[in-house]
């Protein structure tokens, strides 16, 4: 397995708190790009990048279409759009149908990132109340990526990590407070 170039994350119910904890544990020298999806209503104002940026040493970005994906930057999917990774490691958007009743959808991000990054990808499924992301986790696993799920007992809503774990494609199940430090340590050395 080569060095990890990107980490994709997905969360739904309880995600703001979970993301805050995970991102707060990452050092400014974190070597990979981070792309994350938080389920939210299409008409919500896009305050998430600003909120997360307050707890995080890395620059948190509300990306534009075709924005290049850079190491050490955090890209937050905007409400109302699916966020995808394109072949040339840029951001692509779609306003296609909702997936698992969600746009943005975790699966859309995970599948597209899995294609591009293969075994240089890590994926994290956090707290959430539906099964979005499970199919994506399985795909990333088959592409040789490294997969992590938040432990259901440490999740505000356990359905999302449970669905991912049930696929058999999750490499590590970790309590919420362990995920950030684990990523920091594993990727610093990679």
């Amino acid at each position: 397995m080569g060095p990890v170039k990107a980490v994709v994350m997905g969360a739904s119910w309880g995600g703001l708190n979970a993301y805050t904890q995970v991102l707060a544990a990452l050092p400014a020298s974190f070597p990979a790009a981070i792309l994350l999806v938080q389920h939210q209503h299409a008409s919500s104002e896009n305050r998430l990048p600003w909120l997360l940026g307050r707890y995080c040493d890395l620059p948190v970005i509300a990306p534009e279409d075709k924005e290049p994906i850079l190491p050490g930057h955090v890209y937050v999917a905007p409400p109302g759009y699916h966020m995808l990774v394109d072949q040339d490691e840029t951001i692509a958007f779609s306003v296609g149908k909702q997936v698992h009743f969600s746009r943005p959808s975790v699966d859309e991000l995970f599948f597209s990132a899995g294609v591009v990054y293969g075994d240089r990808l890590a994926a994290v499924i956090l707290t959430g109340a539906n099964d979005d992301g499970a199919a994506g986790i399985e795909y990333i696993h088959r592409r040789g990526g490294f997969t992590i799920a938040q432990s259901p007992v440490s999740s505000e809503a356990p359905t999302m990590p449970e669905a991912a774990i049930k696929t058999g494609a999750v490499s590590r199940v970790l309590d919420l407070e362990k995920i950030g430090p684990y990523l920091a340590e594993r990727l610093q050395g990679s």
Binding site: E64, D65, K66, L84, D86, S94, S112, T167
Partner: protein, 286 residues
């Protein structure tokens, strides 16, 4: 436990080749050109259709596409992403009303091109807005889309009553002056738009990837279309828009679309940065 045989990079390369061949087949057989679309999102939509159709490979599906026009139409509908609504992004329409309409009021005649109008919801939104501003009788809206099937639906102007409830809310947030229900007639579980709204709309099929300049426009709306194109095609389309716009004409893009990566930023001034309203500069900087 699901099957977990690995998908290596060679397999991805094979799929990429199969996708290119499928898009080439569609272009040669039916004339629709998706060859310069964003790879990530076209792949997702092809894989989605592949999963639903039960074919074992994209190659097998390509054979079906070539020989069965009805299957092609199904796939076409996947590839063109016809998700839209009336007054989508209501804040945009409010800004258009407040920042663009006052300028349009000084023009004797207004030509508006809506590129990628899909099933027409946003066309009727604009027609109503112009009507309420007293501008519609000197306006012409050119509504174009690559897909003739959705254009036929746009022409009919029939929408589900469920959807229209949501649109009423958008309409109010967009600064609508009356009630959206003044502009349609409900019949059972659908509504039909007031036929008078069509008096100044021309529907035409137009492919941004292959077709040419369209008139001397005062406004071009192309919202959430460019996101599906690769960078080269985006550049082509923005150049097409520059050439189609009158000096001082307006270009309105989707809220995540930007001119930043198209090399054409210089041709426009930014009127509303967050809602992506641009204006073609009077003097070209070359």
């Amino acid at each position: 436990m699901a099957d977990s045989f690995p998908i290596d990079d060679d397999e991805i390369d094979v799929e990429d080749i199969e996708i290119r061949l499928l898009l080439e087949a569609i272009f040669q057989m039916y004339g629709y050109d998706f060859r310069s679309y964003s790879k990530a999102s076209i792949r997702r939509r092809i894989m989605h259709r592949l999963g639903m159709s039960g074919f074992s490979s994209i190659m097998e599906m390509t054979d079906k596409v070539l020989r069965d026009r009805r299957f092609f139409v199904t796939l076409l509908n996947d590839l063109t992403v016809n998700v839209t609504e009336m007054y989508r992004d209501p804040e945009f329409y409010r800004a258009f009303r407040e920042e663009v309409i006052p300028v349009l009021k000084t023009f004797p005649f207004i030509k508006i091109w809506h590129a990628g109008c899909s099933t027409g919801e946003e066309i009727y939104s604009m027609a109503i807005l112009l009507e309420e501003e007293g501008l519609y009788d000197r306006a012409m809206i050119y509504a174009t889309d690559i897909d003739k099937n959705v254009l036929a639906a746009a022409k009919k102007g029939i929408y589900s009553i469920e959807a229209v409830k949501q649109y009423g809310d958008n309409y109010r947030r967009a600064g609508g002056r009356h009630s959206l229900s003044d502009y349609f007639t409900a019949r059972y579980d659908s509504v039909i738009m007031d036929q008078r709204l069509k008096r100044n709309i021309v529907f035409a099929d137009h492919d941004l990837a292959t077709d040419q300049v369209f008139g001397e426009m005062h406004v071009i709306l192309c919202r959430n279309v460019l996101i599906y194109f690769d960078r080269a095609l985006q550049e082509r389309v923005i150049r097409l828009f520059v050439d189609s716009l009158d000096m001082g004409g307006y270009l309105c893009l989707g809220t995540k679309e930007s001119l930043k990566f198209t090399g054409q930023e210089e041709a426009f001034e930014m009127i509303n940065p967050s809602l992506r309203i641009f204006r073609k500069r009077q003097i070209r900087h070359s």
